[in-house]
């Protein structure tokens, strides 16, 4: 039975004693023993959760808006920069072409030998008792370490006259390899086996006079 929301109850046990219990506090007036009641936590959460959510949305909106601003700023900068970049790429590609052309032309210059200087040097270096009869220079174009190069070879045929023929030919060979003007361009000079021979005229073998051949290999002249 309840009146005014308050309740009371009567109970009787077998020993005949009677207990009377009266609840003076309404259920709604009851308070929890916990420091934070569920209700107040709920009430607080009614406000805080939407507030937190709002704050999160606001921050997200703001960061998105800021990103949008940054993006549009960058897009504007890109719109301004892109034509300049295209121009620069074109110019860089033009530069690569002009650089390649120049390198190739320099290659022609660097790979050649000034033969007029070389022949003058040769005339200076030939000992007096040697008479050159034939000179042959040829060139082949090769790839060396991936770079085109000119390779020159020279063959000299001549006569050495007098008792010092062998020494003179050796001197010439040494000069071709070691003298200042030739060492820069010549890699090796050799008298091929069997090419140094006595001169035979009308079946008579000369006592001293000899014919000889010197083969010179030049240093590679790269197109670079």
């Amino acid at each position: 039975m309840a009146s005014c929301g308050r309740s009371w109850s009567v109970s009787c046990d077998i020993r005949g004693s009677m207990n009377l219990r009266v609840d003076l506090i309404l259920e709604s007036e009851q308070r929890s023993a916990s420091p934070i009641s569920v209700k107040s936590a709920l009430r607080i959460s009614y406000i805080t959760i939407p507030l937190i959510l709002l704050l999160v949305f606001f921050c997200s909106f703001m960061s998105n808006a800021s990103l949008k601003r940054d993006l549009s700023k960058l897009e504007a900068e890109w719109a301004e920069t892109e034509p300049r970049r295209e121009e620069s790429l074109k110019l860089i590609s033009d530069f690569q072409v002009s650089r390649d052309i120049r390198q190739e032309l320099n290659g022609f210059d660097n790979s050649s030998i000034e033969w007029n200087q070389h022949l003058l040097g040769l005339m200076r270096e030939v000992p007096r008792d040697i008479q050159l009869q034939k000179l042959r220079i040829n060139q082949s174009l090769q790839l060396v370490d991936g770079t085109p190069a000119r390779m020159f070879n020279m063959t000299l045929n001549g006569k050495a006259i007098g008792p010092n023929a062998a020494e003179s030919v050796m001197t010439l060979q040494e000069r071709m390899e070691g003298s200042e003007s030739f060492a820069v361009v010549i890699r090796e000079a050799e008298v091929p086996e069997g090419s140094f021979q006595a001169i035979t005229e009308n079946g008579i073998v000369h006592q001293y006079n000899r014919v000889f051949q010197i083969n010179c290999k030049y240093k590679l002249r790269k197109f670079e």
């Binding site: 997200s60 998105n64 993006l71 620069s88 052309i101 022609f108 034939k134 042959r136 770079t147």
Partner: protein
Amino acid sequence: MKLPEDKNERIKVLIMILLGSLLALYGLVIGIIKPLISNKQIRTAKIIELETKLKEARRDIDDMMIAKDANDKNLREILKITRESNYLIKPNLGNYLLGASEIIKSYAEKAGIEIDVREIGRAEIPQSRNRKSKNFFMTYSLRVTLESGIHNFIHFIRNIEENNPYLCISALDISENISDPAKHKIAFDVQWPTWMDNEVGEKICDKAEARFSEVNSKTMETQK
């Protein structure tokens, strides 16, 4: 709003509120948060992409400043070699021999030497492996035969070589002349660079000339 007094009713209402909240949360996630996040991701990705592109573009533009001067220098040099100095052999109605033999004959005349000229023709240089672009030049060769004293001959080829650093005497044969010991029998090959594709070469030179005339007229305008 008050919750119903009845516990079952209250639970029902609470469940309804929970479901409603979950639904609202779902709606928020799908309708606002997800688009916000995806927008943010798209914008961030775009910003990163643009920043990278801008960084590259700025580097290219900086390179352009360096490349511009170097390119101008190269182009001036190319124009000098190909147009002003005529170091390259160019075809006259497809004929290379006319121009080349004219040059050699003029030097021969100066040296007082009579020569015979025969065309060897054009040949490609092996392609460098270190370069991406194809060769711009190939060689054009002539064979010159003559009889001359060695000093006169050296004078003759000195004139040829000193007046064009890009040509090369690629083969030389000097042998004795039994009928006239003062005059040797000489044959040599002269090798010039020539555009692989003459039209491409002319286009590059025309473009360079147009560019410099434009720059010159701008400079004149600013001086006025």
